[in-house]
């Protein structure tokens, strides 16, 4: 699955020092996730609790994504988890970053990644329509 274009966007994000882990996910389901070996090992130590908290946040994402919810985030221990909701879906681009990161810079690249993922999804939808 290395040639999944969305996975490539995520791998690109992971190369940034402060992105410790990232994925595209929805409630109880991870849609696209890069090889976990690329994640920062420190995140894997707290992954279970972060994953549970993420699932709870996705209840809110599901409820309000259609109402225009754009981003949501929470801080847990020494980490922050950022959710960038993909428009008109219950999916979000999720990134785990250290709590003391320069969030403005990360925010810009998260938004660029969200736009890239959107473009890929739109392109894939169009191709499906044409093939149908």
């Amino acid at each position: 699955m290395r040639d999944d274009p969305i996975e490539l966007v995520l791998i690109d994000l992971l190369k940034l020092d402060d992105i410790l882990a990232c994925m595209v996910a929805r409630q109880n389901m991870i849609s696209v996730m890069p090889d976990q070996n690329l994640f920062d090992p420190s995140v894997m130590e707290v992954w279970d609790i972060i994953k549970r908290a993420m699932d709870d946040v996705f209840v809110v994402v599901k409820e309000y994504s259609q109402a225009g919810l754009g981003e949501i985030e929470f801080r847990l221990q020494d980490y922050e988890v950022l959710f960038y909701i993909l428009p008109d879906t219950e999916n979000a681009l999720v990134a785990i970053i250290p709590a003391l990161s320069n969030k403005g810079l990360i925010d810009v690249e998260m938004e660029n990644a969200r736009q890239e993922i959107n473009n890929i999804r739109n392109k894939q939808d169009n191709e499906r329509l044409i093939n149908a």
Partner: protein, 421 residues
């Protein structure tokens, strides 16, 4: 621009894209990159990639920045370049070394080179682009890189050590404000813009590009003589909060506020802002104090600046200031957008050909990806003409009509074009 990760490939791509639409070789190339190539091949390789493509002898200047905005979007990773080809333009490059140790000597070195170049030009209108190595945080033994030092003992060690590290290690403030004041003294008839090199806002290292050389702790300058019209403008969205105080004890070098209203500076600042004791710490720093810039004074001019380092009871500020009454300012996202609009409104008489804009990294920290609103404003003004806005830590403009405006959290434009009249 490029988003490639490999330094050599990125250098080639950014140069190729910058010059591909030019019909004649460029008069100069401005090149800005984020710090990431340091770990992905290194900046020597990056510059080699650029020179694989760029015509030999092209004046090239720039450096590392936390991020940039151009005609294509806003980015905190990658590189961007602006190549200008204009028949009515002479260009001179200059540089000065050891800016943190001896900024005045660096300015003299650079100014002498600029002066010689300017003398050869037939064009009367002169412009200088100033790009200076920005601040680098001092690594505190046993503590690492910190913006808030709450230990009195360590602060006592740092305060005198600050001058020593500045001189011997060239770690500390960028001193770009002093450099800017000095270069204006050399060229009072020229208009100027100022920006600083930085990394990803950690303040650990930064580089300057000067033709094929990779420099540190240096200033690089681009002098332009042209018959194009140009103008510079600085705006910021800060307004007084109504809270004033008096700086009553300032360090001899004008960089450290020890006492406010005759009380220890940090305690008194907390009281004025109604913040509890200990509220300012490493965790809260970027979410709190950056939103309360203060209006300092320097030679009678207003200098809006952010308070970047806390040393127990003292506050280190990024520029040299004078004692006196100070106002705490506030800023909002809306006011920042308005400040950009106001800036571009000032240049409505010009039909732009290209533009250089420096702005403060803290504006990006404030707006996040909503800085795209600023990008849209600038894009609407420039339409299909190229511009680069780069993020800085200490920026400003100068013109003979408007004098020096040095500020943090500001928008600084240098716009070249033709008069609409």
């Amino acid at each position: 621009m490029t988003r490639k990760w490999d330094a050599r490939d990125a250098g080639r791509e950014v140069a190729r894209e910058a010059i591909q639409s030019l019909k004649t070789p460029p008069n100069f190339v401005l090149l800005f990159s984020t710090i990431h190539y340091d770990k992905h091949g290194g900046f020597d390789e990056f510059l080699k990639g650029v020179w694989d493509v760029l015509p030999e002898g092209t004046p090239l200047l720039g450096g590392t920045v936390p991020g940039f905005i151009n005609n294509f979007g806003c980015y905190a990773r990658g590189a961007t370049a602006l190549a200008v080809s204009c028949p009515h333009m002479d260009v001179v490059m200059s540089m000065g070394k050891n800016t943190k140790r001896n900024p005045y000597k660096a300015v003299k070195q650079s100014a002498d080179m600029l002066q010689k170049g300017f003398e050869k030009s037939q064009y009367q209108h002169k412009f200088i682009f100033n790009f200076v190595s920005g601040p680098e945080v001092i690594k505190i033994p046993g503590q690492g890189y910190k913006k808030v030092v709450d230990s009195g003992l360590i602060s006592k060690f740092i305060l005198p050590a600050y001058g020593i590290t500045q001189y011997f290690l060239q770690k500390g403030l960028g001193r770009e404000d002093e450099i800017f004041e000095k270069i204006v003294e050399y060229f009072p008839e020229s208009s100027m813009i100022l920006g600083t090199a930085n990394d990803d806002n950690r303040g650990i290292s930064n580089y300057q590009f000067y033709n094929k050389s990779l420099l540190t702790n240096s200033m690089v300058n681009l002098g332009i003589s042209t018959d194009l019209e140009f103008d510079v403008c600085t705006t910021h969205g800060m307004t007084p909060s109504g809270i004033d105080f008096e700086i009553t004890k300032l360090s001899r070098n004008g960089h450290i506020i020890h006492k406010i209203n005759n009380k220890p500076a940090v305690q008194e600042l907390n009281r004025l802002l109604k913040w509890p004791k200990g509220f300012l710490n490493e965790k809260t720093m970027t979410h709190t104090i950056l939103y309360y810039p203060i209006s300092l004074r320097r030679h009678g001019r207003e200098v809006p600046a952010v308070l970047t380092f806390i040393l127990k009871d003292s506050i280190l500020i990024p520029c040299v200031i004078d004692k006196g009454t100070v106002s705490i300012l506030t800023v909002s996202g809306k006011k920042l957008v308005h400040a950009m609009q106001e800036n571009l409104q000032y240049c409505q008489a010009l039909k732009p050909e290209f533009g250089i804009v420096s702005t403060c990294t803290t504006i990006l920290e404030t707006l996040g990806y909503k800085i795209n609103i600023i990008k849209d404003e600038i894009s609407n003004y420039f339409q299909d003409k190229p511009f680069i806005m780069f993020l800085s830590l200490g920026e400003g403009t100068y013109s003979p009509e408007k004098d020096i405006t040095y500020a943090n959290m500001s928008f600084n434009t240098a716009i070249f074009g033709k008069s609409k009249k």
